[in-house]
Structures are given as C-alpha cells and as structure tokens.
Amino acid sequence: MNFRRWHKWLSLVVATQLVIWLGTGLYFALADHSKAAGNTYRQPIEPGHQEPPARLADIASLPVKNAKAVRLFYLQDMPFYLVERHTSAHASQPRDTAVFNAFTGTPVQLDESMIKAQAQRSYSGPGNVLSVRLTESPVAEIPGYRNAAWAVTMDDALATTIYLRADTAQIIAHVDDPRRLRNLMFKLHFMDYANEGSFNNLFSQLFGLMALLLTLTGIWWLFRIQKARFSRRYPRKPSPAQASL
C-alpha cells in the first residue's frame, strides 16, 4: 500500500473530525472570549465586611480531628470556617470539607436562601431566580468539576444558570447560552464525548495519530506532485557531452 492509498483511507476515517477540528478552531479564533466564558451577566462580589469581627470561635475548639487546612471566609458579612480534610491539586477536583459558623463553632449547611442571595450578588442581568437546586458531581454543564454544586437558574434571555460550590457558595461559573456553545465547541474539539472535561482520551489520541499520518502522507504526496510539475515545466537539458553522442 503506497502513501496515496494511506492518504485516501486515512482521510476517509478522519475527514469528519478534521472538519470539526478546523471549524471549532475557527470558532475559537472568532469568539468573544469573555461572553463565551459566561461572563455577560457576571459581576465580581465585593467583600462586605470592613472591620474584623469582635470575637470568633477558637479554631482549635472545632469538632474536627484531622484537618489539612482551615480557612476563614465570609458569606453575606457572616464569618465561616472551611475545614479541609482532604484536598487535591486543583479546586475542581474532589475535596472533603466541612463548614462551621465562625461565631459559634457549630457545623452549618448553607441553605437555599443564602445560595440564592450569593448568586444574585454575582449577577448583573435583568432576570429573576427561577429555581435553586443542589446537584451532585459530575455536573454536566461544568465538565471537569468533581464536587457537589448549587445550580441557580435565572429567567433571562441567555438562560443563565449560576453554579456555586456546595460547601462555600463560591461562584464556580455562570453558564449561559454563549457558554453552552463554547462547551459544545470544546467537547467537539477535544473529542470529549464522555463529557469528562479532558482532552486526554482514547478518541483524541487515535484520531490525533491518524491526522498526523494523514498530514505526513499528504505532504509527501504534495512534494511528489510539485516535483513532477517542476520537471515538466523545466525539463532537464542533455549535457553537451550527451548531446554529441
């Protein structure tokens, strides 16, 4: 089997994905990256507290034995302790945490009203809250995120859903229609058809290898065509010695 046949049969397998790679690549080159990230109606949450609270519960008195770190954070001017029992290299990876009221030292679960208020503080759009629900990992619209999250749905024209960490109510992302389009483009470009939020998958590896072979055989074919065209256009003249024979 020669390189031309290789090129033909590889292209038969890879063609659709190659067009998808180039089409999605074109999208990435053209997209407004701030809007595509879901930031149309996102605004930073200004820290509310100005003065340190008078007295907080002693960290050492919290009912936890094993903790890697304890963090003080504020939610709507209320102080909380986040106890990290297990952490990963990235915040999106699984982590084992507990949250305590920093005034009383008692464990708390953030409720819907706090989540709703926090989501609204991050939102600058015209919509109102439609629903608030707790979702378990994995969350389809934020691939790669591996912890529980709150989803606050807004009734705006972009169908914005605000995702917040289940433990701290930290904003993970605003997912609206432009972001859903970007998610789809990433899924197609990375061949992440299992929605794992990763390009390290067997599909992309196999098709990546075939695309490289397709390119190499194509370049070789192109080189041969150009060489033949050059020879036809500039045929080699016989040397004087050959001509005299």
Binding site: W21, A29, I59, I219
Partner: protein, 235 residues
C-alpha cells in the same frame, strides 16, 4: 467540479500544509501526555500534613486584632509548625504568622526554601540551583506569585519547584515536558509570542483556509473511494 477541488486542495495545502503538520503534531503531543503529569502533580506529594492542634496557641480573634487588614486567612502546617497565612488588603501582600508564638515569619531564606522544595518532592533528587526572584521572574511562572524561590533539581527533565518566599507554599512545578507542552500550545494556536491570544489573525486565516482545503479534500476522498486512485492516475 472534482478538478476544482483537486486544484484548490493542492494549492491551499501548499500554503497551509506546514501548519497542518504543526497542528497535528502539537495536538497529538498534548492529548497523549496526561495533563496532571504536565502540571507537575506527579512530581510532588499532594497530601499536606494534618494540623497539629496542640501547637495552635494563637486564636483567629487575636490574629485579626493584630492584623485588622487581614483577608483570606488560613491555618495549616509549614515546616512542622502551624502557621496563619493571609493577604493584607492595604498593600495586597501575603504574610505568614507562627500560630504558636504569634510572631510574623520573615521571608524564606535560601536554605528554608530548599528544605520546603526537598520535602515536597516525591523522588529523592539533589538540588542543582536555588535562585530568588523578587521583581521579575521567568516567563514560565505567573508574576502574581512573586517573590519566589526557584529550586531546580538534577535530572534530564530539569524538574523545578517554585516556592513562595512569603507563604512558603509550592506555587508551581515545571519540567521539560511542561515546557514542551507550552511550546506545543503556542504552535497550536499560532501565537508564538506568549501563547496568550487564541483570537489572532494568523489562526483565523489558516483555520479558514484549512477548513476550505479539508472540505475539498473530503470531496476528493468521496470521489476516490468510488474510483480508486490508481485508476484515476492511469486515466
């Protein structure tokens, strides 16, 4: 129609062929190397030590009365001691305070940074070089982590850990495969300068012309699957 596709597939590929090679080679590199390995997560121990509660003598209340501008306060272990780390909102700098004595911990010395880096490495390797960067640092680390110590270890992959001089934390890990990945990314998005701009004109032009060439190539493929290349070449 097929002659048009053949002619323009060849012509556009003369223009974009080399970039196709860069796209596919860089893309293949990026998908076959595990991203967690690239991020250096396999170089260092990910699990941090548990807080030694017996040693925690300073309360958060006492800390905040001493440092009223403290934000993002955390408590964890550093070099066998519990420490508070926080950001001062007035000048945006990070501070580390001993949670046993309440004393501020000064910037890490060279030997302290080296000890932190050595304790974090999974493999037993020797340190080759330790350098402090204060105002400007290498391109491979974000400047927001300054000031930091660069600790380079022996080995052909040149593993390098960056230790914050203020907080004593490992801020990032780099090695030859990360550096190669960074270059693959730049080649892939056609931003050879710093790899920060996906929306650049080169990528737009090459992706558009490449897409046209690929569609014409697909046309040729359908044609040649119906009619083998050999027959076509023979006429």
């Amino acid at each position: 129609m097929i002659a048009f596709s053949r002619r323009w597939h060849r012509r556009i590929m003369l223009f974009t062929g080399l970039q196709f090679l860069l796209w596919t080679a860089s893309g293949l590199y990026m998908v076959i190397t595990d991203i967690h390995f690239i991020h250096g997560e396999t170089l260092t121990t990910q699990q941090k030590p548990d807080i030694d509660w017996q040693q925690v003598k300073v309360s958060v209340t006492a800390l905040l009365s001493e440092y009223p501008k403290a934000s993002d306060v955390s408590l964890s272990m550093h070099a066998g001691l519990p420490v508070y780390r926080f950001r001062q909102t007035d000048d945006n700098t990070w501070t580390m305070v001993n949670a046993t004595s309440g004393e501020a911990i000064p910037q890490l010395s060279q030997s302290q940074a080296e000890a932190v880096a050595l304790a974090s490495m999974k493999a037993k390797v020797s340190v080759v070089e330790v350098t402090l960067f204060i105002a400007n640092g290498p391109e491979e680390v974000s400047s927001r982590h300054l000031p930091y110590w660069q600790v380079t270890f022996e080995g052909w992959t040149s593993p390098t850990l960056y230790v914050s001089a203020l907080t004593g934390e490992i801020v990032t890990a780099r090695h030859v495969f990360w550096r190669a990945f960074d270059w693959m990314w730049r080649l892939h998005i056609m931003d050879w300068d710093d790899g920060a701009d996906v929306g650049n004109l080169f990528l737009l032009i090459f992706a558009f012309s490449g897409l046209c060439a690929a569609l014409m190539g697909a046309h040729l493929t359908i044609f040649h699957v119906k009619r083998p290349v050999k027959k076509w070449i023979k006429g």
